[in-house]
Amino acid sequence: MSTVVESHDHGHHGPAKGLSRWLFTTNHKDIGTLYLWFSFIMLFIGGAMAMVIRAELFQPGLQIVQPEFFNQMTTNHGLIMVFGVIMPAFVGLANWMLPMQIGAPDMALPRLNNLSFWLLPMAFGILISTLFMPEGGPNFGWTFYAPLSTTYAPSTVNFFIFSVHVMGVSSILGSINIITTIFNMRAPGMTLMKMPLFVWSWLITAYLLIAVMPVLAGVVTMMLMDINFGTSFFNAAGGGDPVLFQHVFWFFGHPEVYIMILPAFGIVSHIIETFSRKPIFGYSSMVYAMASIAILSFVVWAHHMFTVGMPLAGELFFMYSTMLIAIPTGVKVFNWVATMFRGSITFETPMLFSIAFVALFTIGGFSGLMLAIVPADFQYHDTYFVVAHFHYVLVPGALFGIIAAAYYWLPKWTGNMYDETLGKLHFWLTFISVNVTFFPMHFVGLAGMPRRYPDYALQFADFNALISVGAFMFGLTQLLFLFIVIKTIRSGKQAKPEVWEGAGDLGLEWTLSSPPPYHSFTVQPQVK
């Protein structure tokens, strides 16, 4: 893609000073920065909870926390990582990059943008505050199955419900903004099939969000009614059905899984083509693959529920539909490999994270395929095998995508190159510890350790100790990432506009100065 850009002096259009810059900002970069820092802070909070979990599981027996608090930790770890880390980080990246990638000055709805960010600290403030209340926070797992989360929940569940509602509003507003921006503010000449893949991935993700966040809002509202207003949606004694909860939840939950991975697909595609110095292989099949994954995500939800007692035909339908998802996902992996094939490859930190993404996400895909096989799932279901699977797709999947994006675009955002040596150190420590943490989980799961257990039989002790060591190493390593990011913001070698060799041809963001002007493109570039 080649472009024509006129350069302008934007010095007269700076941000406001002090705190009001961040409170009232309508600038896509400032809001992107807020989202990214928010998710970074949440990563350490959710990570600290994971450390509590791993410390307790280091040895059999109860040593550090009681089961009640352990359950609060697993629940909040899940909720925070899903809704407070991965999703806001992707929205932050979208805020920063979408206007710059499509040649726009800002997002289409800047005030809405401000609102959708500032709802988040409120939502998570409410959620985390429940941990300090006498009855304790939510303790029913991040999937909050009724009736454990309704009839048998602590009364703080009402705060949890409100906080989920607020998160949902934030996500829906953000998605409306993203769709509007992509459809209305693209540079002349940028047809849909010329859009960068990150833009495509977010367009599809935004539609998924708009489709399923109301479903989540619906299911927590039904809980609210059951708890406070005497309805019986999920109470069999009143004519309801606890399994209805799971159907509605997973109708949200499965598309949600792809919401957390599609933007990473877009990011990794850009990084692989940049450092292979070769355009992405099979652009259109990449787009179709993402669209297929998104559509299929609406017809696979009950594969999370193979043991609830569905009819045979239902079990088989959800097995087949789930297996189908392996096809577009496989196509994406093949395309990434074909992009590397006969390229001219260098191994900067973002590329290292992306290569690890392709390899480890594929392993997560394999375990996902195994989990789709219903009879085998009877043995895997709700064991550590599942924990291994979804951590493989969410940590070396989604989180590696986000970290890779941060290294890839940090020089563009700050104008400073990050420290490559430290970046590589961060990568190798992360790569090793992630595998030490999550790979043995496959084994303990197959051998029979159920998930969400604060204590376990002696046969699982060795692997659990190893897993905990890996987890502590992984957690500590991310402090190095924090250090690298701060160091890059404050100093570093001046980055050129194209930052990476040859990137100038790959996207409009590389035609802007580093750091880019406050209002990215005031004159729309022409895309040929």
């Binding site: 359950n71 199955y145 454990l148 069999a236 292989f281 990434w336 001219s344 051998a447």
Partner: protein, 382 residues
């Protein structure tokens, strides 16, 4: 390309050797148990087939990827080619992926149909998940019992060494006959639990208000240990499943004994009980069924589990006390014990908690007898 073949051929032979040394052992700490039933063996084989297909695909894809990364690295002067699409290649690998999936789907469907069979069993057992124990009822003989974790709290807290079957042992395992089709009817009393015995490859959610079915047919005697696999609250990890499979004669003797015991229990209800007898029985019942939440010293774990010592209900309101034991407390972890335990048990534990600690001195000290419970039941029935 010859190089790829050479490398991947090596890997294909090396990796299985590496993995198989880890994976194939009789009772593996690394892999799914083969189990003892036909279904569990079929599922194990299916699992291994799918696993190896994934391993082979993984080796092919990763070999090409890492070979490309090595061969086309810029530091060795690689110059990028400029192709970026190939229609037939895209079609080709899409079709190939589809064929592999069909290849996987066929045996999966066969095993699924084999495992999925809800016909009646020769023996039908109603399994009810409670917070936090299992109740087993033999439907043909109308006898049942609770199965509680028997690992001591001292072991959990690390005050004494942990036993061999730490958290995998119960006071009374489920007993089933060998070479008999046993059907399980699985339900929940409060929240959703899930009953899992890996060696039978049986895992079914126990959902309040609904009954799921599963079945097994165990060829040889043995003790099989499983777990609750659906998060059910604080003691989710502390309600294991233990099943003892025995020869048919031994099973029949076991049932006969259970029937006799139940009869004896019914006789006890009409007996006149002294306070000391009730206290003695109540104390052991309390230790097994109540102390986990309300604690041995009656202090509970407020605010979730209220203290019983000094409670107004335990001191001065025996009719409310009976009602709570019989009906449970809606919206809390306090279950209804009325349908699950005998009148004698309920009367004795109420008497015990009204006398124990300082309650006997500070309250009305009323004694509740099995006849009071019978009276309560009759009142409700009217």
């Amino acid at each position: 390309m010859a190089y790829i073949k050479k490398v991947s051929a090596k890997l294909i032979f090396a990796l299985p050797l590496f993995f198989s040394s880890l994976i194939f052992s009789e009772k593996s700490d690394y892999n799914m148990p083969v189990g003892v039933t036909d279904v569990s063996e079929s599922i194990f084989e299916l699992h291994m087939v799918i696993f190896w297909i994934c391993v082979v695909i993984g080796i092919i894809v990763f070999s090409i990827m890492f070979w490309s990364l090595w061969k086309y690295r810029k530091s060795k002067g690689a110059v990028a080619a400029d192709f970026d699409d190939n229609f037939w290649l895209e079609i080709g690998w899409t079709v190939a992926a589809t064929l592999v999936l069909v290849w996987m789907a066929v045996p999966s469907t066969q095993v699924m149909v084999e495992a999925y069979d809800d016909a009646e069993g020769e023996i039908n057992i109603l399994i009810t998940g409670h917070q936090w124990k299992w109740h087993y009822e033999y439907l043909e003989d109308e006898v049942g019992f609770f199965s509680n974790l028997s690992t001591s709290q001292e072991q959990i807290d690390g005050e004494v060494p942990k036993g061999e079957f730490y958290l995998q042992e119960v006071d009374e395992p489920l007993v089933i006959p060998t070479n008999t089709r046993v059907r399980f009817l699985i339900t929940g009393n409060d929240v959703i639990h899930s009953w899992w015995v890996p060696d039978f490859a049986v895992k079914q959610d126990a959902i309040p208000g609904f009954i799921n079915t599963a079945w097994t047919n165990v060829p040889e005697p043995g003790i099989f240990r499983g777990a609750c696999t659906e998060l059910c609250g604080i003691k989710h990890a502390f309600m294991p499943v233990v099943v003892r499979a025995v020869e048919r004669e031994e099973f029949d003797a076991f049932i006969a004994e259970k029937v006799a015991l139940a009869e004896e229990e019914r006789m006890l209800t009409s007996k006149v009980w002294t306070k000391d007898e009730l206290m003695e029985r109540g104390e052991s019942f309390y230790a097994v069924n109540c102390a986990a939440c309300h604690q041995a010293n009656g202090q509970g774990i407020p605010p979730v589990f209220p203290a019983l010592e000094g409670s107004q209900i335990a001191l001065n309101d025996s009719s409310k006390h009976i009602e709570i034991l019989m009906e449970g407390v809606q919206g809390s972890a306090m279950a209804a014990f009325g349908d699950s335990y005998s009148e004698v048990d309920i009367a004795s534990v109420i008497t015990y908690t009204r006398q124990a600690w300082s309650n006997g001195e500070n309250g009305d000290g009323e004694i509740v007898t099995p006849q009071d419970i019978v009276a309560y039941k009759n009142r409700i029935d009217l």
